[in-house]
């Protein structure tokens, strides 16, 4: 079985400062991985590097996505190849309606895959269906992308986009932060509904709470730019109970 994502000895940073200090991670089809860790451990840097944010420089290692060198691809190519990043802070884009934005994005994706554009009526029906999944009112379609949306609405909109783009690998960057329990449940329901044996999800989170709803196969703890411990979902519960300090101490001893 070819892994969807294979990261080997990845080192990366921003402005001369090394943040990721050798990450190894393999994600196979059908799996859900959770990456946890205290603030400043490198979680969001990992998400940004995977999505191809320009500010970050990769200094070593490799990332293979579906058998291809991910680091060679522009951000838009990664998306077209099936990578999706749900942003921690979705950006507001005044004047670009959600409907037009998603129509453009899906159009690019289909073009990349050699498919004809969808008929407008069919596309509208598809958008309505996917909005139901995250309990968004279809009036959002005509509003400017994320503009004036509440925190929960922005996060639901991310999952709506994910549903429309049907990625092979979804990376959720702190999608749960700032959500109340109802919004969290809606978001988790959306993510679960999109799971399949051929795709995979990487959930980056600070809190164990999300993992009650999106149950991971593997939990990794990121500390100081390295994955210092991996285990099953019980690791997340242990972290919830004991905090991160014991991991930090163990990691310090090992190093």
């Amino acid at each position: 079985m070819t892994p969807i994502l294979s990261i080997q000895q990845l080192t990366a940073g921003i402005e001369e400062r090394e943040i990721l200090k050798g990450i190894d991670l393999v994600v196979n089809p059908g799996e859900v991985h959770a990456i946890m860790g205290p603030n400043g451990s490198g979680k969001s840097t990992l998400a940004s590097v995977l999505a191809g944010r320009e500010d970050y420089t990769v200094t070593g290692g490799s990332v293979t996505f579906m058998g291809k060198d991910l680091l060679e691809m522009a951000p838009e190519e990664r998306a077209r190849e099936g990578m999706f990043l749900a942003f921690q802070y979705p950006i507001e884009i005044p004047g670009v309606s959600t409907a037009n934005f998603i129509k453009t994005a899906v159009g690019e994706l289909r073009k990349h895959r050699g498919l004809d554009p969808l008929e407008p009526a069919a596309f509208l029906a598809l958008m309505r269906e996917k909005m139901k999944l995250v309990e968004m009112d279809s009036s959002f379609l005509n509003r400017s992308l994320n503009e004036g949306f509440s925190g929960g609405e922005k996060k639901r909109n991310e999952i709506f986009q994910m549903a429309m783009l049907e990625p092979t690998l979804a990376v959720l960057d702190e999608t749960d932060s700032g959500l109340d329990i109802d919004a969290l449940r809606i978001v988790a329901h959306g993510v679960n509904a999109l799971r399949s044996p051929t795709n995979a999800t990487v959930v980056i989170t600070h809190y164990q709470r999300l993992l009650d709803y999106i149950v991971p196969d593997v939990v990794h703890v990121l500390w100081n730019g390295r994955i210092v411990r991996s285990g099953d979902k019980s690791l997340a519960l242990e972290l919830e109970k004991r905090g991160y300090d014991w991991i930090k101490n163990e990691a310090a001893v090992e190093a």
Partner: protein, 447 residues
């Protein structure tokens, strides 16, 4: 030198005109020309030391040897006219058309309705003024107060302008397209079209004024539009500048708005070597409203200067201004917005904003809001921003599979679309959306 050359150019053109008057020199129109000429000579050609022309330098082209003509030039054929107008002609096909060639109405090229109830489109003549004394209160009435020497130059040279009158309670459903073509295939040329629009009580009309050139030499097109909006009438006056590099346009539009009436100006600057627009709206009676919108999408060395003035003379009036621009390459934009609120104009609401995005390090935007508020119970605000495209937003779109160039086009398009959306005249709005999208490399959105 250049200023002197232009002064002599205008003097010569005026004398030539005067020599063909055939005994009508004492009539009001020519008297107006004589007095305008004097005003022009007194004011002189502005330099950048003149506050109103601080950013905008006319000296590089003003000294050209301009030819003026006394009649509509028959060398311009219907084919030339269609070519000059481009896709705008097709977009406004359902409307009436008044064509100026080199500053003179061309009857052959125009399609002027003769028997439309409540609509009269005819040349401005002494006979017309004699028959309709109310015209005298509009045509040339505000010029004495104008400090723009090009307004005086226009009136000193304008042979016949066009007078558009829309009768009481007439709601025109087709737009009136005023086309100004300057033929510079054989020589540099100065053209001075003039438009007078009277919208009588309760009427409603859309006007589109567009400026075009034929040829590559220098076309200096100095246009004056005077508008009177009677009680409860609604005038939407659109101006489209979307021509190649030959066009140097200096335009002045002024409107007096009466009780419960609305005047809306929309200026779209999508091209032209040099564009200067002055739009002045005077809210003369209570409950009148003025809306001023502007869109500039420029690249290369294109230049667009928008000067606006809103004069709140009486209480309970409302004005709103929104100007947005995208500047690429070495293009330059200017926005100078004046709002006067006179001491008696209590309960005024006046809002102004001007926003620009610069896409290149060489592009330039100069904004100058100027609010003079003499009343104390008013709501007024202004805002001016100049910035770059939000790169985080570009990345966000990229992360959804949209390439960076397309993401930028989408965002810049969306930025100006906010203004274009305000145009009620669907045919023109769609045309401008297509033109802007084309210039930005985006696809127009159909919501």
């Amino acid at each position: 030198m250049a200023r002197e050359a232009f002064r002599n150019n205008v003097l010569r053109a005026h004398e030539l005109l005067a020599s063909r008057l055939n005994g009508n020199a004492a009539a009001p129109l020519h008297q107006q020309r004589v007095s305008a000429l004097q005003t022009f000579l007194d004011q002189g050609v502005p330099t950048t030391r003149h506050e109103e022309w601080k950013y905008t330098n006319v000296l590089p082209f003003i000294g050209s040897e301009f030819v003026t003509s006394l009649d509509a030039d028959t060398a311009v054929t219907a084919y030339d006219c269609a070519r000059a107008m481009g896709s705008l002609a097709e977009a406004l096909d359902g409307g009436w058309r008044v064509v100026f060639v080199n500053g003179h109405i061309s009857v052959q090229l125009s399609s002027i309705p003769e028997h439309v109830n409540g609509l009269r489109i005819e040349p401005l003549t002494d006979t017309l003024i004699a028959d309709h004394p109310e015209l005298a209160t509009v045509a040339g009435a505000n010029v004495a107060a104008s400090t723009n020497p090009f307004v005086a130059a226009n009136l000193a040279l304008a042979n016949n302008g066009v007078v558009i009158r829309v009768g009481s309670n007439i709601q025109l459903e087709r737009p009136i397209h005023v086309v100004c073509i300057t033929d510079v295939r054989a020589s540099h040329r100065l053209a001075t079209p003039r438009v007078v629009l009277l919208a009588e009580t309760g009427s409603s009309v859309d006007v589109v004024e567009s400026h075009h050139t034929l040829g590559d030499l220098i076309a200096l097109d100095v246009t004056v539009a005077e508008v009177a909006v009677a009680a409860n009438a609604h005038v939407r006056y659109h101006k489209v500048l979307d021509d190649g590099g030959a066009l140097r346009h200096i335009g002045d539009m002024r409107a007096d708005v009466s009780r419960d009436a609305t005047f809306t100006a929309h200026t779209a600057c999508l091209g032209g070597g040099f564009v200067r627009n002055d739009v002045s709206v005077r809210l003369c009676e209570p409950s009148s409203q003025g809306f001023l919108f502007g869109t500039s999408v420029l690249r290369d060395h294109e230049y667009a200067d928008n000067h606006t003035t809103v004069d709140h003379c009486v209480p309970h009036c409302h004005s709103e201004e929104l100007y947005k621009g995208i500047y690429n390459d070495s293009s330059v934009g200017v926005f100078n917005g004046k709002i006067y609120v006179r001491p008696q104009a209590q309960k005024t609401t006046a809002y102004q904003s001007s926003h620009a995005i610069l896409l290149s390090e060489r592009a330039q935007m100069n904004s100058k809001p100027q609010l003079e508020i003499w009343a104390d119970d008013v709501k007024c605000s202004h805002g001016a921003t100049t910035g770059q495209l939000d790169e985080d937003a570009v990345f966000y779109l990229q992360s959804r599979g949209i390439d960076a160039a397309k993401a930028r086009a989408l965002m810049t398009y969306a930025f100006v679309a906010e203004v274009v959306e305000r145009i009620d005249l669907v045919s023109l709005r769609q045309h401008l959306e297509e033109r802007i999208a084309d210039k930005l490399g985006a696809e127009p959105f159909a919501l």
